[in-house]
Each structure stands twice: as structure tokens, then as C-alpha cells.
């Protein structure tokens, strides 16, 4: 059955979009083990984010050893 989309529906949909796009924060870990897993997961995610950055092979780290 064809359902008529009203202006009210469109307004509600538009209002819901920012909330849908916003990832809700993870719950606060309940114990040290959960905390550890959460931090490890964060560091893994950071590593994945860094891996996506393409670098010229010649780019050296921003710190150098001097004899």
C-alpha cells in the first residue's frame, strides 16, 4: 500500500539525521579488565587510522639521532 509522506514526516526525518550520524559514546567500562579492553581497542583504532595516511617513502620521523 502506498503511504503518503507528509511534511511532518520529512521534518522528523531531517531532525533525526544528525542524531543518527552521531555515534553515541561507549558506556564507561565497569571494571579494570573492561577498561583495559576499551583502551586496547582505542589504540588499535588509532593504529588503523594512522595506517590510512599515505606517506612518501622518504618521510622520516620527526626526531633524529645525532652522534
Amino acid at each position: 500500500m502506498h503511504r503518503r509522506i507528509t511534511r511532518r514526516h520529512l521534518v522528523a526525518l531531517a531532525a533525526a539525521l544528525p542524531a543518527a550520524a552521531q555515534t553515541p559514546p561507549a558506556p564507561i567500562p565497569a571494571n579494570p579488565e573492561e577498561e583495559r579492553k576499551a583502551v586496547l581497542a582505542l589504540f588499535r583504532t588509532n593504529g588503523e587510522t594512522l595506517a590510512k595516511v599515505t606517506l612518501p617513502m622518504s618521510t622520516e620521523p620527526a626526531t633524529h639521532f645525532k652522534a
Binding site: P18, A19, Q22, P25, L42, F43, G47, L50, E60, P61
Partner: protein, 476 residues
């Protein structure tokens, strides 16, 4: 015995020094008065780590002798100051704000403290801080041996950190100025939340020798003061080469406001979204007014975008990896579990598991970040953004969660400037610029490396036209 008026606790460096030289009171009387106040009020805000009353009174006697003989050492002579308890003072405890180090005594005085002592400064005490300077991250304001820093403007709110005691001490008149440190936000945040003027110097300008290391490549020592002028005077005293700091830039700094560039020659970069959407609604009016005032100084303005890099992931990786390496003995011994904050404990342990490839990748991207900022500062002299997007949070608020339900703006603006600026080693100045919900808010200026003079010039013009830096919290 001279009567010391309460106004002295909120006087600037120059004012205090002038009154001493005019013999309105002696350095000993001043040292006693500030020590009394620090000991009486410091604990009210969880700001005090250690009073150095006996030592400072001994020092004050020397200062009185020198002033009597007209042996003047400059504007910092006889001026009471206090330092974040990550700076060591020989023979006295240095706790790093952390229970495992509560009894630690380091038999060496930090370079910056030695420099201020040589100029006749009166070190009255060590100030509370977030444990281990908050690295790699923490969840609650209570992450400290001394408990949560309580904001002098409203003790149900946080002072900001990790230089919590430093922000409190200056705001509440417990010291004329303080030293703090920043790895990523730890000078700018308490400065903004407590309504004081804070300066994060260029990486390498100020010696880190004698300061607890959290991140070798990101730690900086800097002043929190009552004015831009005071920041300039303190930076001049503490900056400079130090062979004991491998990261020393071997550069000095001279505070020369008389040679400041004309405002019309200065280009300010900004992102409108910072003031319209990122700023919390209560803070927007005064932040916008502050930016409007900066424009009225006669500067040129230019909409600017931050170079696009994953600053958060980079900063977290570098700080966590370096911090875990530094504190490896603490972690491996299990004493890390004595820290107050569960997230901090977990972060330090997990930091030892960060792969070398991630750390090296972050450090390589960092080279590109520096290059990108060099290009940015070819067109723009100073970036302006809110120091923090809202006032200090309530003490119970988890600091790693959004403060409101407002969705984050799509346009990043300069929201990443704290990690970005710290990754690139850039200097920054936070200026009190208004109130939101009765609490201070600040605006930050950031510039190219070793451009502190430029920051101070713009900041000085701003403070000549405003009085936010003179406002005081309701301290009885």
C-alpha cells in the same frame, strides 16, 4: 610589621616588585603572607602539594639584604611564585601528583626553578597536579594524589588540568605566578577554566631538565600568570639553552614589547564555525565578542583551515607509547594500580603494547604536520580559537565523554588545534575573555615556532582593552 593589603595577592609581578623596592613591606613579610595564604587556602581547592615556608623565608632574608644593598636582579626579585609538583626541588618531596611517588625526593632542582631562584624569586610551594600529568589519558577530575582541583570560581567545578594547582593558585591569589606544563592541553585548559593568562612555549625553548617526563617529544614548561606582561617576564627568565635537556632548542627569549609588530601588519587566521557551532551556547557571546575585539585591533583576518591530519590518533599514540616507556618500571612492578584513575592505569599498561609501527607512523606523519604548518604560517601569522569550547565542567563529569548532547559540527574548524599545536611544537597563549554560566572562558592565540613575541604583542593589546584578566573569583 608592615600591613600587607589583600590586594597584593592579586597584584602583577611588576606591582609586587615595585612595592618591595619602595619598602612598603619586606620580602620576609611578603613570603610569610603568601605562605600563610597558600597553606590556608590551597587545601580548600586541593591546590597545595607542599608548602616551602621555611625555605622561602630563608631566601626572603637574602632578598631583603640584596634590596637593601641595592643589588637588583630584575622584576622577578622578591616575587612569590609556586610550581607544579612535576618540577623537582632538591631535598623536598616531588610527588608527580601520584600515590606511588608520594615519598619521592629528587636530589636536584629543576633548571627553570634554579633560574627563577637566581633572579631572587621566592618559591613558596609545590602545586597539585593530575597524576603523572594525565598521561596517556584520564576520566575524572579526581585523578590526583591531592584530589580533584576545585575551581576557585565554583568549587563544584573542575579547575582544569593537568596543571590544576597552577591555575588555581594564580586565580585565587595564592601566588603571583606559577609554572605549569603542557603535553597536550595542560596549560591552556586550567588557564581557560580558572580565568588566568597561560603561555605554552615552543617545544625546546624552555628546559625540561628536572621536570617529570610524560612525553619526551611533547612536554613543555610554561607560566600561568595574571597578565600577558607577566607571562613575558617569566618566559624571559626561564627560556634558554640547557645542555642537560637533549631537546633544548638553544634559543633565548627576550620580552621586548617596545618592538612589537604593528597590529595592521598581523594576519589572524580563524574558523567561524569555532565560535558559532563548536562553542557551547553559553560561551558563544563572550567568545564572539573577544574575537570581534581582536579584529578591532586593526589586524587583518583570514578564514583558515587546519591542515587535515588525524591529530587525535597521532597524539594519543605518541603520548601513550612514550609515557608507557618512561613509566615501564611503574607498570611492570604493578604499582601502577595505585593510581587514582582507572582509565589512566589501563592506558599506561596498554601503552606498552602499542606496536612500533604505529608509533613510527605517527612520528613520520608528524613531519608532514610540521611542514603543513610552515606553509600555513606563510600566509597567516596567528591562529585564534576558543581555548576550550565551554566553561569548566562539574567535578563528577566524565572528562572523556561529550559534555552535552549537541552533535559535533561537520566542519572540524580548529577543534583539533590543541593536539595539532602540541604535535608541531607551536607556542600558544590563552587569554581570559569572558564568562559563561558565571565561569571563565578563554581565547587562544597560536603561532609559528619561536613566535612568542607576536603572541604576547597581540595579547597585550587585547588586555589593554579588556579587564577579564583582572577579575577575581569569590575567595574569602
Amino acid at each position: 610589621m608592615a600591613h600587607i593589603d589583600d590586594s597584593i595577592f592579586f597584584a602583577t609581578i611588576t606591582e609586587v616588585n615595585a612595592k618591595l623596592k619602595a619598602k612598603e613591606f619586606s620580602a620576609v613579610e611578603l613570603a610569610r603572607a603568601f605562605s600563610d595564604r597558600l597553606e590556608r587556602l590551597g587545601p580548600r581547592y586541593n591546590a597545595l602539594a607542599l608548602s616551602l615556608r621555611e625555605a622561602v623565608i630563608r631566601k626572603a632574608k637574602d632578598v631583603d639584604g640584596e634590596i637593601k644593598r641595592e643589588r637588583f636582579r630584575g622584576p622577578l626579585q622578591g616575587v612569590p611564585f609556586a610550581v607544579k609538583d612535576l618540577l623537582s626541588v632538591e631535598g623536598h618531596p616531588t610527588t608527580w601528583g601520584a600515590k606511588p611517588y608520594a615519598g619521592q625526593v629528587i636530589d636536584e632542582t629543576a633548571t627553570v626553578v634554579t633560574k627563577l631562584n637566581k633572579l631572587g624569586g621566592l618559591l613558596t610551594g609545590k602545586l597539585a597536579m593530575v597524576e603523572l600529568a594525565g598521561g596517556p589519558s584520564y576520566r575524572y577530575a579526581a585523578a590526583s594524589l591531592q584530589g580533584p582541583g576545585l575551581n576557585p570560581w565554583d568549587r563544584t567545578r573542575w579547575s582544569g588540568g593537568s596543571s590544576s594547582g597552577s591555575g588555581i593558585a594564580v586565580a585565587a591569589g595564592l601566588a603571583t605566578y606559577a609554572l605549569g606544563s603542557e603535553t597536550s592541553g595542560s596549560i591552556l585548559t586550567p588557564s581557560a577554566f580558572c580565568g588566568v593568562t597561560g603561555l605554552r612555549p615552543t617545544y625546546g625553548l624552555v628546559s625540561r631538565h628536572g621536570a617529570m617526563a610524560l612525553s619526551w617529544t611533547m612536554d613543555k614548561i610554561g607560566p600561568l600568570c595574571r597578565s600577558v606582561e607577566d607571562c613575558g617576564l617569566v618566559l624571559q627568565a626561564i627560556a634558554g639553552a640547557d645542555s642537560n635537556d637533549p631537546a633544548s632548542a638553544n634559543k633565548s627569549f627576550y620580552y621586548t614589547p617596545q618592538f612589537a609588530r604593528p597590529m595592521k601588519d598581523i594576519v589572524i587566521g580563524f574558523a567561524p564555525v569555532d565560535f558559532s557551532d563548536w562553542a557551547e551556547p553559553a560561551a558563544r557571546p563572550d567568545l564572539q565578542k573577544a574575537f570581534d575585539l581582536i579584529k578591532q585591533l586593526g589586524v587583518q583576518v583570514k578564514e583558515t583551515k587546519l591542515p587535515d591530519f588525524p591529530y587525535g590518533a597521532m597524539a594519543q599514540t605518541i603520548i601513550a607509547a612514550e609515557g608507557a616507556s618512561i613509566f615501564e618500571p611503574l607498570i611492570q612492578s604493578g604499582r601502577v594500580d595505585e593510581l587514582a584513575d582507572q582509565k589512566q592505569i589501563a592506558g599506561l599498561k596498554a601503552g606498552l603494547e602499542i606496536p612500533a609501527k604505529d608509533y613510527l607512523k605517527a612520528m613520520r606523519i608528524r613531519t608532514l604536520v610540521q611542514r603543513a604548518f610552515r606553509e600555513l604560517f606563510a600566509d597567516v601569522d596567528v591562529l585564534v580559537t576558543p581555548s576550550r569550547f565551554g566553561p569548566a565542567p562539574k567535578l563528577s563529569q566524565p572528562l572523556d565523554r561529550p559534555l552535552s548532547d549537541r552533535p559535533s559540527p561537520q566542519d572540524r574548524g580548529m577543534s583539533g588545534l590543541i593536539p595539532a599545536g602540541n604535535l608541531a611544537g607551536l607556542p600558544a597563549l590563552s587569554l581570559p575573555c569572558g564568562l559563561a554560566e558565571g565561569m571563565p572562558v578563554g581565547i587562544s592565540l597560536v603561532t609559528r615556532p619561536f613566535g612568542e613575541g607576536l603572541l604576547l604583542a597581540v595579547g597585550r593589546e587585547f588586555q589593554a582593552r579588556t579587564d577579564w584578566h583582572k577579575r577575581r573569583p569569590p575567595v574569602s
